[in-house]
Symmetry: C2
C-alpha cells in the first residue's frame, strides 16, 4: 500500500529541515520505505479536509490504505514497529528505545519549544531580553543530564534507534542557538545523526520542496 | 514479577494527583496489575542510585525484573502493550489510540507546561501579568481543536484507551486555572476520566502517600 505523508507547501524554516515532516521522512528512509508527499498550504491546513486527517491542523499526517495517523511521534513509532531498522528485537531493549522516544518529546522538547516561542512569538516584547536567559537555563537543565547519560557512547542505548532519531531531531532545533556548543558530546551526537545517509536523503527531499529543485541523489 | 514504581516522598502538588506517578498508577489500576511503590526524596532523586534509573532525576520509574523504564508516556505504553484494557485489538484502532497518547504529551501538554512555568517560576517577574494571557491563549489554541474533534463523544476514538488516559491526565493540570470552563465538553471529558474506578483508586493511593493515611478502599 502506498504511504502518503503531508508537508508544508512552503516551510516556515526555509528548508532547514526543522519541520516535523523531516522526522517522518527520516524514519521512512531508515527502513527503506518509499513514500509520496502531498504539500499543504497554511490555509488548507485549517480547512475541513485536512482537519479530518489532523485535528490540530498541522503537518505531517500519514495515510496508508484505511489508516490515517497524525502526530510525528506516533507516525515514527508506527513505522518503527512495522519495519526492521528502528527498534531492537530484544523486548527490554525495545522498551528502552521507546522510552527515549518519549523522553525526547516530553522531557527534552518542551523547554526547547518554549525557547522557540520566546524568540519567535515574544522577541519584540519588553521582557524578552531579561527573560530569554531563564528559558535557556530550562533547556540546559535537560541537556546537562542528557549529556551525562550519553557520555562517550555513539547512541543513547546500544545501536541507533527510533529513540535516537527523535532525540537528534529535537536537539537539531537548538543548532542555531549555540546552546549545544556547551555540550560537545551532544553536538557530536547530533552531527552523527545528520551524517546518516537516511537523514541526508530526508533532508534533501524536504529541501527540494523549498527550493523547487528535485534532489540530485 | 513484581512491578515497582517510584513516586515523590512529598508531592509538590499536595496530593492533588498531578504528579506523574498518578498516570502510571492509573494505567496499572485499569489493567488490574498490582504494584509496589518506592518513595524518593527530592535529594535522593538527584543522587547516582536514582539517576541510574532515571537520567533526568525525576519520578516515576518502572522496574520489573531486569527491565527499568522511565518517562511516564513510555511506562503507560509498556503497560498498555502487555495487558488488556488500554489499547484496542484492531491494528488501525490501536495505532490511533497511540496517536492520541503522543498528541497528549507533544501537542497539548507543552503549552500547559509553559503555563505552569509562567505561574510557578515567573509569577513574581515584572512581566508576569502582561505575559500570562499570551500563554493562556497558546493553551486555548490546542483546546479549541481538541474540543472540536471530541464533539459529543465520550472518548477520543471509540472506547476508553491509553490515549484518553494520557489526555485526561494532561488536561487535569488545567483544572485549577478555570480555562477548561470555556470548553464544556472537555471539562465533562475530564470528569468522565476522574469518575473511572481505576482513576479513583490511583488518586486515593497517591493521596495516601501525602496524608500518611492508607486508602480506606
Amino acid at each position: 500500500m502506498t504511504i502518503t505523508i503531508t508537508a508544508f507547501q512552503r516551510s516556515p524554516d526555509g528548508g532547514r529541515g526543522l519541520s516535523r515532516d523531516t522526522r517522518v521522512r527520516w524514519a521512512l528512509e531508515e527502513v527503506g520505505q518509499p513514500y509520496e508527499v502531498r504539500l499543504v498550504s497554511f490555509r488548507a491546513m485549517k480547512e475541513p479536509a485536512h482537519l479530518a486527517l489532523h485535528p490540530f491542523g498541522q503537518i505531517p499526517t500519514y495515510e496508508e490504505g484505511d489508516l490515517v495517523l497524525f502526530e510525528t511521534g506516533s507516525i515514527v513509532f508506527h513505522i518503527a514497529e512495522r519495519h526492521a531498522g528502528l527498534l531492537p528485537d530484544d523486548a527490554n531493549a525495545r522498551a528502552r528505545a521507546i522510552t527515549w522516544m518519549f523522553a525526547a518529546i516530553n522531557t527534552v522538547e518542551p523547554p526547547i519549544l518554549e525557547l522557540a516561542n520566546a524568540r519567535l512569538l515574544e522577541g519584540d516584547k519588553p521582557w524578552s531580553k531579561e527573560r530569554l536567559p531563564l528559558v535557556e537555563d530550562r533547556v540546559r537543565d535537560r541537556l546537562k543530564p542528557l549529556s551525562a547519560r550519553l557520555g562517550s557512547a555513539d547512541w543513547l542505548d546500544g545501536g541507533f534507534s527510533a529513540g535516537d532519531l527523535m532525540m537528534v531531531s529535537v536537539l537539531l532545533r537548538l543548532k542555531s542557538s549555540g546552546i549545544l556548543d556547551g555540550y560537545p558530546n551532544l553536538a557530536a551526537y547530533v552531527a552523527r545523526g545528520e551524517a546518516r545517509p537516511a537523514y541526508k536523503r530526508a533532508f534533501d527531499a524536504q529541501l527540494a520542496v523549498y527550493t523547487g529543485k528535485p534532489p540530485t541523489g
